[in-house]
């Protein structure tokens, strides 16, 4: 290869290189590394494959990926916070506009109005869904959102205890537990009522006091259940100065009251399932975070925020990153969060998707999810299969299957043979598995019936 190395990703030819070396008065690029001690220079050969042409690359990746089986080949009842969605053709057409995806964070506002206005619109759309005034322009995902919200509640209240629902997704719980270790927050879990799966009102109230920074509620919760007995808890929390953080399935808000309307101080959720993007094996995702505007408390928000402003000379409407004195590049060790690179393109995708859906499409898809789930439940009940909790739910429920640990693999294969991903296994006792079943709007009636039928067959 030597000095004549040329590659589509490298801008300079041998001639360019020689000219630049000549300008610098040196004979090789190596001289620019001459200040580096010889003993730490890497002299070996990298254990990496040879370069590939574009065609070879495509073929190689395609060949590996072909071993996957997708949610478009198998009927997926997997949820847990993210969902298989359909991205209309126009959406990817727009996301492939290089002006958006190959730009950096808009540090120079005057030449980046496009993404800034789009982020302002994204923040606004999120506020509309959750009933809040201000949203940031993304966190990494819902799970890190729980962590950020806990820390934010603690900064606002200057308290160091945080209580959270036991009906939380295990992955979100794990991230929360990790996120708060640095701040030394003490975590306590609020139990749910055994037969309803809803947060235990009496126990929640007993746990809230003047040492608690915030309470985290999921609605619908991880078991899919609509929490409809929150009034007393939220009232009590506010009386004791405890911040109420609500995590929601963002699709459910087409039918359910937005958290901003029942007293939540901070609303978080996952934007993937409302158009942020395909599943992509779990990332990139989109953590949404919004709150009621409060001069002091809103300054505790993590992440970037775009505001509307004007130009200095002409007084024209303009958009710019604002409230930046919360952020790491200015406040360093006193910043509200370490987040810098966020999920802007996923937020843009989400904004485009919500725009395409409009109020009718947003409602239609949510209703289909709801009705599909309820259809499956009806079919299952007909053959005597029950849910663990019989409370009202949106598009997700936990199916009482009690599959013993040693039968789990067999069950997975049994369902796979019928082209079904049956849901997320969840164990209450550490021995037997129930399944959290979620319906998207992409499954047709036959898929739903087949699912119920397959469960029936397994039980025989």
């Amino acid at each position: 290869m030597g000095d004549n190395y040329a590659h589509p990703y490298l801008a300079n030819s041998k001639k360019d290189i020689d000219e630049m070396l000549e300008y610098l008065g040196i004979s090789s690029i190596e001289e620019l590394y001459s200040d580096i001690p010889d003993e730490i220079r890497f002299k070996g050969q990298l254990k990496l494959p040879h370069y590939k042409s574009e065609f070879e690359l495509m073929e190689a990746v395609k060949s590996k990926l072909s071993k996957n089986i997708t949610t478009r080949e198998v009927r997926s009842f997997l949820g847990g916070g993210i969902l298989d969605i359909y991205m209309p053709a126009i959406q990817d057409e727009l996301l492939r506009r290089t002006e958006f995806y190959s730009a950096y964070t808009p540090y120079q506002a005057e030449t980046s109005q496009g993404i800034l206005q789009a982020m302002f619109e994204y923040q606004s759309l999120i506020c509309e869904l959750v009933g809040m005034d201000v949203a940031n322009c993304s966190l990494y995902d819902w799970a890190t959102g729980v962590g950020e919200a806990a820390l934010m509640a603690s900064r606002i209240t200057k308290r160091t205890k945080f209580v959270y629902t036991a009906a939380i997704a295990p992955n979100r719980e794990a991230v929360l537990q990790n996120y708060v270790t640095g701040a030394n927050l003490e975590l306590e879990m609020v139990p749910y009522v055994e037969n309803t799966g809803k947060m235990d009102v009496a126990k929640a109230k007993a746990m809230l006091d003047e040492t608690v920074a915030g309470i985290y509620i999921e609605n619908p919760n991880f078991f899919g259940i609509i929490e409809d007995e929150l009034d007393e808890i939220i009232e009590d929390a506010h009386a004791k100065g405890v911040k109420v953080v609500v995590g929601t399935d963002m699709n459910s808000l087409a039918l359910l009251k937005p958290p901003g309307e029942y007293g939540a101080d901070i609303a978080i959720g996952e934007g993937q399932s409302i158009g942020g993007g395909p599943l992509n094996f779990g990332g990139p995702l989109l953590g949404t975070l919004a709150m009621k505007y409060n001069k002091k408390e809103s300054r505790q928000m993590p992440g970037r925020i775009v505001g509307q402003t004007i130009t200095q000379n002409e007084g024209e409407v303009a958009y710019a990153n604002t409230l930046q004195t919360r952020e790491q590049h200015i406040k360093r060790e006193r910043a509200t969060s370490n987040i810098c690179t966020n999920e802007a393109l996923v937020a843009l995708s989400c904004a485009i998707h919500l725009t395409i859906l409009g109020p009718q499409g947003y409602k239609d898809t949510a209703e289909t999810m709801y009705l599909s789930a309820h259809h499956v439940v009806k079919k299952l009940e007909e053959i005597g299969v029950k849910r663990v909790f019989d409370s009202e739910f949106f598009n997700s429920f936990i199916l009482d299957l009690k599959i013993p640990k040693d039968k789990k693999q067999e069950f997975t294969q049994f369902m796979l043979d019928r082209k079904i991903f049956p849901g997320i296994p969840y164990s209450f006792d550490g021995e037997n598995y129930d399944y959290i079943v979620t319906t998207s709007y992409l499954l047709c009636e036959k898929d739903l019936d087949d699912f119920a039928k397959a469960i029936g067959e397994w039980r025989k």
Partner: protein
């Protein structure tokens, strides 16, 4: 002459009209009567979402896109950000159906293909780092920092040295370094750089103690200067019982040339959205993969992705009792990781080190040309070469003409090139941080420097011209103070103001 597109583009909310539709979701034949939401939890007012037809949605976002500068528009030498070309084949690959439609909770036997790719990427990154164990879970650089520092903390605690809670970092460090330190519950000990812009060894020696958890340092540092005393520094920290963290944001200087593991580092994060060409997306997503050595491996986040060679089977390992837990809901930004994998594969063993060669060459070429411009000077020292980036100071220009680094940046964007990073690192004054990357050829750099010279000459003649720049961008200079005085952060806040 450059003119950026400009539209008086209303907010999307102002464009709609009741009853228009841009999309029809799959039909649903179930009766709506079946919907029973508990009365007290029913949504009464629907969200105010825009109503447009498909073509109008297209126009809105096309207009917005045309008011956005990107690396495919022109030179984008944003220092520390490594704005290199985003290969288009990677975009195509990332849109494979076999990638997009994978749920992270699928049975592991249905995701062997993607796991194989992720596993190979882990090995490749480990090889480049000289640190063999990798997690792809952190979704950005800052999250990688947090994760890596978390590993260091877990290590000390596990060794009965929980009192080691101090992270030493130079004052030249990126803002995320101190912020991640504090997020970890560690204390930041900031040490001054010397006049050469390097870590002051004596200050480091004075800072270490039995409370030292580690040193956090990017090398080359944020001035683009290689910390040549790294071995002495690493010995100093190690002798005091601390570990070394490498901020890999500057890795584009050293790919295949130096390996942090060989410099004595214990752990690093990569910014796959910098060094490995994945698009920055107007702010994200990124990926902050972390590599570490054997002593930190037990603490890596769960799950790790492993390979059973006998069965040729890839799997997740959750059985990691010493793990710090999870830093992302799933396994990280997988679609970003796939692009990075494709980038590494396309360049291969032969090509990767040429990226650093060219990145370092273009940086030094641009810097030597720029420092000749009257009013600019190289920060700290001019005597040594930089690596992939350099920091120029516009202090003489400010002093002589009252034209600041920010003014210079605004004049540049007015000419259809992007400005360098301004006012970072904080140890430089009126900083212009320049990182052309291997994506800029000599002609482009010559053109850039010429534009810079022309604009600075205009400013010398008429400082007001500089103060009023930019003029050819979609809008003129933004009033940041107005934004704060009149906080308007959403459509909802606009509506409320209109009602008042």
């Amino acid at each position: 002459m450059y003119r950026q597109a400009k539209y008086d583009e209303p907010l999307i909310f102002e464009l709609g009209k009741k009853g228009r539709r841009a999309h029809l979701p799959p039909r649903c034949d179930f009766s709506r009567d079946g919907i029973k939401i508990p009365e007290n939890m029913r949504r009464v007012t629907p969200p105010d979402l825009p109503e447009l037809h498909e073509g109008e949605v297209m126009r809105h976002y096309v207009h917005l896109s045309q008011m956005n500068y990107c690396v495919d528009t022109g030179t984008y030498p944003l220092g520390s950000c490594t704005m290199k070309y985003n290969p288009k084949v990677n975009e195509t690959i990332a849109r494979s159906e076999k990638m997009m439609y994978l749920h992270p909770n699928q049975p592991v036997e249905t995701v062997q293909g993607i796991l194989e790719i992720l596993y190979e990427l882990q090995l490749a990154l480990g090889e480049l780092a000289g640190l063999p164990h990798t997690t792809l879970q952190p979704p950005a650089g800052a999250s990688g920092e947090y994760t890596g520092l978390n590993l260091i903390k877990a290590y000390h605690q596990d060794n009965g040295e929980g009192q080691r809670d101090e992270i030493i970092a130079p004052d030249s460090s990126h803002g995320t370094n101190p912020a991640s330190t504090v997020l970890n519950g560690q204390k930041l000990i900031e040490i001054k750089s010397n006049e050469d812009g390097r870590v002051d060894i004596d200050a480091l020696k004075a800072a270490v103690s039995n409370k030292t958890a580690g040193l956090m340092l990017t090398n080359p540092n944020t001035l683009g200067i290689f910390e040549k005393d790294i071995i002495e520094m690493s010995n100093t920290v190690r002798d005091a019982g601390g570990l070394l963290y490498y901020d890999g944001a500057n890795f584009n200087a050293i790919v295949g040339k130096i390996r942090p593991g060989d410099m004595g580092y214990d752990v690093l994060h990569f910014n796959l959205h910098k060094t490995f060409s994945t698009p920055h997306g107007g702010g994200g997503p990124g990926s902050g993969a972390v590599c570490c050595n054997d002593i930190l491996e037990p603490y890596l986040p769960v799950p790790t992705i492993n390979h059973d060679k006998d069965k040729d089977y890839y799997y997740f390992d959750y059985d990691r009792p010493k793990s710090i837990g999870k830093v992302h809901g799933y396994y990280g930004n997988i679609a970003v990781a796939l692009r990075a994998y494709a980038y590494i594969a396309a360049l291969g063993e032969e090509g990767l080190k040429h990226t650093s060669d060219q990145a370092v060459l273009t940086a030094n070429y641009a810097m030597r040309k720029m420092e000749k411009i009257d009013g600019l000077r190289l920060s700290h020292t001019s005597a040594i070469p930089r690596k992939h980036e350099s920091v120029l100071e516009a202090t003489p220009f400010l002093r002589n003409h009252e034209v600041s680094g920010m003014d210079i940046a605004k004049m540049l964007i007015s000419r259809g090139v992007h400005a360098p990073t301004v006012y970072f690192p904080l140890i430089a004054h009126e900083a212009l941080m320049m990182e052309p990357t291997e994506n800029e050829n000599k002609d482009r750099i010559d053109q850039y420097v010429k534009i810079l010279e022309e604009e600075m000459e205009k400013a010398r003649q008429d400082p007001d011209y500089a103060h009023h720049a930019p003029t050819n961008t979609s809008i003129g200079r933004v009033d940041d103070a107005y934004a704060i005085r009149n906080l308007t952060l959403s459509w909802k806040m606009i509506k409320e103001k209109q009602e008042e």
